[in-house]
């Protein structure tokens, strides 16, 4: 019980601290890092306090410390699953799907007819529950990572395509006229003007696709997988009521998702440094 009270006390103190810091030093760099970190720490602390203080069964919700212990215990299993699901399934599918989407977008860019036809269809498909095709693709490509990569390809294709087509339309007539006065060929205008102008849109799609890729790879494993992989481990560990292991897998998935997103965001910063949204003094 005292643990519960201690964690509640910590929560109250941290909230006041966050509030004070935010009120006084909201522009400072360290405050921008510290406040979210403090907030995250309070959540973990509160979780630990509630689970221990109220004696919640670990089958329902394990405490963060238990999860951390299990995580350290089973790093080799977690690494094997990570390699199977993220590196083989999600990453290869992501690369193939995004490359294909960009190529198709550049190809249909020359035909307004195809664009008018494909865009509404693409927008519609992007809103569909595409994960539903996972069982079909697992049936076609077998249980190993190839079918997971195929699911990821289909899932990331349409969001990236729609964004890339919108991006290629982004240049205004003035800029295109300038290219024409330079007597630039189609290829030159594409590489020097329109592809760079499309980059903010493309990265928007790429960032959405990172989460979709992880979801696709993990969900596809629910429909059949070899005896490794994060989706497989989650569904079997739930069956064995080994909740700390499940939460360790979720931690891996969260870390991988955040890292993947961060990587794409860092690339975006490097490529589209000229765009207004990247300026720091907004």
């Amino acid at each position: 019980m005292s643990l519960l009270i201690a964690s509640l006390l910590f929560w109250a103190l941290a909230t006041v601290a966050c509030w004070q810091i935010a009120a006084r030093w909201s522009q400072a760099r360290w405050a921008k890092m510290l406040v979210p970190a403090l907030f995250g720490a309070t959540l973990l602390f509160l979780w630990e306090g509630i689970v221990r203080g109220l004696n919640v069964s670990p089958v329902i919700l394990p405490a963060p410390s238990q999860i951390a212990a299990r995580f350290v215990d089973s790093t080799d299993v977690l690494w094997m699953d990570f390699a199977q699901t993220i590196l083989k399934g999600a990453l290869s599918g992501y690369l193939i799907g995004c490359t294909a989407a960009v190529l198709v977008a550049v190809l249909i860019d020359r035909s307004p007819f195809l664009q008018r036809g494909l865009l509404p269809v693409g927008n519609f498909v992007a809103a569909l529950p595409i994960v539903g095709i996972a069982p079909i693709l697992v049936m076609w490509f077998g249980f190993d990572w190839h079918s997971k990569a195929a699911v990821v390809v289909v899932m990331v294709f349409f969001p990236v395509l729609v964004n890339m087509v919108a991006g290629l339309k982004e240049t205004d007539p003035l800029q295109r006229d300038l290219m024409a006065t330079y007597s630039a060929s189609y290829g030159q205008a594409l590489t020097k003007l329109r592809l760079p102008a499309a980059m903010p849109f493309l990265f928007n799609g790429l960032k959405i696709a990172t989460t979709l890729a992880l979801i696709g790879a993990i969900v596809a494993e629910f429909f059949g997988s070899p005896t490794r992989g994060m989706g497989f481990r989650i569904s079997t560990a739930v069956g064995q009521l080994d909740m700390p292991l499940v939460w360790s897998e979720i931690t891996v998935a969260a870390l991988a998702g955040t890292g993947f997103y961060g990587l794409v965001a860092a690339m975006e910063k490097a490529v589209t440094f000229w765009h207004p949204s990247q300026r720091s003094d907004r």
């Binding site: 509030w19 935010a22 979210p36 049936m139 989460t211 969260a254």
Partner: protein, 288 residues
């Protein structure tokens, strides 16, 4: 209008054509195997005809899917376990519940974030991080845990749907509530408007276009969440469960029919939100 209809129809026709070709190509192996076993020769036309009518094809032809869909939607009593209407209704009700929860949570958080600087700094990074977590990975566990607490039925699925749809709404609402510019805010200050007045009379109305744009994304996300939540839970009803059963028993036509029902449902939900958007924005005088 004509500028859009013709290209879209062309693209759709191309898709159907590719689909038929794929059906022939993928199903041909089984037909050839059967013919080899019976020591018969199959001509090309026989081969094509045979690939169109298999009971468990690798790739069902479009007309087979339409047939399966029609049978599921209209050929059954609505209460039957084979009726797609019943399964779609179950998925739909969980989706709506999750959508309402997610929308309410998204709006509440957005209001807090816009008004409290400390919340903006502490919650927003975590809201973004929460979306990089593949939530669907947690779906089976959430359902098992909630079932062990005695919570069953719609609510667990709805919670997963809510988790997926709160983020687009949060982001859209934060953007929308911040849409009024300095000049408008100053204007309200010169009228000595209170914080509540500023919220109700300026911020909320000007957030409406953003709100509806994110509602459309949110409702599609909620549907995906519900379907996936139905997959691993051992659920026997709902479109997700239909997909899983179809994949267990190799009933490809059933999978495709459930998939198309989900697609139609998603399309209808987005269209309904779009109609509400048009009506509301028109009455508010925001559509030119």
């Amino acid at each position: 209008m004509r500028q859009v209809v013709l290209p879209v129809l062309t693209v759709l026709a191309a898709i159907v054509l590719i689909w038929y070709c794929a059906a022939v190509a993928l199903n041909a192996k089984w037909v050839r195997d059967q013919a080899a076993r019976a020591d018969e020769q199959v001509s090309f036309s026989q081969l094509v005809a045979a690939t169109m009518v298999q009971e468990r094809p690798v790739m069902p032809a479009p007309h087979q899917v339409v047939q399966g869909l029609w049978q599921g939607l209209a050929g059954q009593k609505v209460t039957s376990k084979r009726s797609l209407v019943r399964h779609a209704w179950i998925t739909f009700s969980a989706t709506m519940l999750g959508f309402v929860i997610g929308t309410a949570a998204g709006i509440a958080l957005a209001v807090g974030i816009v008004h409290l600087r400390s919340m903006d700094m502490s919650v927003m990074p975590w809201a973004i991080a929460s979306q990089t977590v593949p939530i669907l990975a947690i779906a089976p566990m959430v359902i098992v845990v909630l079932a062990s607490l005695g919570i069953k039925g719609l609510l667990p699925k709805a919670l997963i749907a809510a988790w997926l749809c709160f983020f687009p709404i949060l982001v859209g609402m934060v953007k929308g509530l911040r849409a009024p510019d300095r000049m408008q805010l100053d204007q309200l200050r010169t009228w000595n408007a209170s914080g509540g007045d500023t919220f109700w009379k300026l911020r909320l109305p000007s957030s409406m276009p953003y709100f509806f744009a994110s509602l459309k994304v949110g409702i599609a996300a909620a549907l995906v969440g519900t379907i996936v939540a139905e997959l691993p839970a051992g659920a026997t009803s709902g479109l997700g469960a239909r997909l899983l059963q179809g994949s267990y028993y190799g009933q490809t036509i059933q999978i495709w029919a459930a998939l198309f029902t989900a697609a139609v449902l998603a399309g209808m939900l987005v269209v309904v939100v779009g109609v509400i958007e048009r009506v509301v924005l028109k009455r508010m005088g925001m559509v030119q």
